[in-house]
Amino acid sequence: MKIAGLRRPAASTLAAVFALFLCVAVALTQTQTVPVPSGHNPVYDELEKVPEKARSRPNPLERDPDAPVAGKKLFEDHCAECHGDAAAGRKRGPGLRAEEVQQSSPGALFWILTNGVVRHGMPVWSKLPEPQRWQIVTYLKTLGSAPPGAH
C-alpha cells in the first residue's frame, strides 16, 4: 500500500532509525549481567539484605490449598522464562531450589519478589497483586530440595 506522506527521505530515515533500534537491542543483550545458574550466585546475597521487618512477615496463604497450584501457574507465566520451568536456573536467572532460597523466610522471598534485584536484572514484580506474589512464594517453598521435574 502506498501511503501519502511517506516520501523517500522519510523512508530512509525510518530504515536508519529501525536499524539503530536493532543495534541498540543487540548491543544491550550482549552486555546483560549473566548470573551463573549453578553454584553460589551473587543474587542470593540479596536475600541477606532483606529488612528484618519484611523477613518476619508471615505468608497469609500458607494454609490455602489452592495457593501452590495457582503459584505454579503464576511461576510458569512470569518467572520460568528466566529461572527455568523447573526453577533450576538459567543463564538469566539463578536456580530457586538452592539452599539459600529454600531456607529463606517466606517474607524474604516476598520482599525480593516485590522489590526485584534491579541491578542484577530482576525486575520488580509489585505489579502482580499482593495475593498473587504470596501464591508464588507458597509454590517456591513447596519445591524444597526436590529434584527438578518432581513437580
Binding site: 501519502a4 534491579v118 520488580v124
Partner: protein, 336 residues
Amino acid sequence: MNHAVFANQSQLGRAPGRSPIRRQALLPQLAARGIRRFHATGGIIRNVCLGFAVFACALSWCPRSFAQESPYIVTYDHYLEEPGSLDVEYYSTFGTQRAGNDFHAYWIEFEYGATAWWTTELYFDGQTTFGDSSLFTGFRWENRFRLLQREHFINPVLYVEYEQTSGADKILKEVEGHDVESDYGEPNATLSKEHDHEMEFKLLLSRNTHGWNFAVNPIMTKNLSNDPWEFGYGMGASRPLALKASAQRCNLCPENFVAGVEMYGGLGDRYHSGLHNTSQYIAPVLAWNLPSDWTFRLSTGFGLNDNSHRFLLRWGVSREFPGFGQAIERLFGGKR
C-alpha cells in the same frame, strides 16, 4: 504540537450543508497536489488487516509468558518491560471531529526491555481522515529510566522521547499545551506541511497499594524550533477485577481483567499556563490479559470541554515476546 490555527473548513469535510457535488468537484484539486486518496472504509480495513497480519505471523514464535499489562493507553505506571522481552503493540484511535472529518489514527510500537531499569520503545504513526486521505505521520523514540532500585511509597521513572511527526499526526498519545480539537480539522494536505521535531519529558509517578495502581504523569514538551515549552498531564487509577489467581488456567478469569479510568489534557505553555484554551479528556479503560501472551485494551474517551474531541474510541492489541534479546544474541553468535 503547534498546529496552525483553525481557519478553513475541511475541504472534503462533512460540514452541515456541504453537498456531494461540491466534494466531487474538489477531488481533482487534491489529486493535483499529489495526494493519494482511497475510500476511507477500505483504508481502515487494510490497516487493521495489516496490523493483524503482523501479529498472526508472530503468533507461533515465542515461549510461554503471560503479560500483566496495565490498561492505560495515555498514562504510564512505573513498570518497565522485562529485560530481553519485546512487546509489539498496535493501537487505534477513532476520533470524532466537529467542523471536519472524523479520523482513525493508528500506531505500532516496539517496546524492548534493555535492562531492568531501562526500556526503549519505537513508534510509527499514521492516520486516515475519512473523506480525505491516509498518510504516515511520523515516528517517536521513547526511553524510560527507573530512577530508584527498590519499591518506594511513590516510584519515579524518567521518560524521555524524541518525536518527528507531521502536523497531521492524530494519535493523541498525549495531549499538551494548547492542543485543541480545531487543530485537527484542516485537510491532511495542509496539516502534513507542518513538521514537528519535539523532545518530550515526563516524570512517571506511580504507586501500587491494596491492588490499586495510581499513576500521575506531568509532561513537558519542547518543540526544537523556537516554540515555548508546553505542559500537560496524564493520570489514572486501575485495579484487577480479582487479586488472587485461580488455580486453573483460563481466559475469562477475573484476575485477567484490569479496569480503571484515566484523565489527560493540556496545561498550556510557558507564557500561558493553565486550563484556558486546552483540551481535557476522561476515559474508562479496560485491559484483558490472555494467558497466550496477548493483551487487548479498550478505552472510551470523552471530551470534557468544547476544545476537546467529543469522543475518542481507542483499542489496542499487544503481544509480548520474552527472550527476544537472547534470540538476537544467538543470531549474532552469542553463547547459549
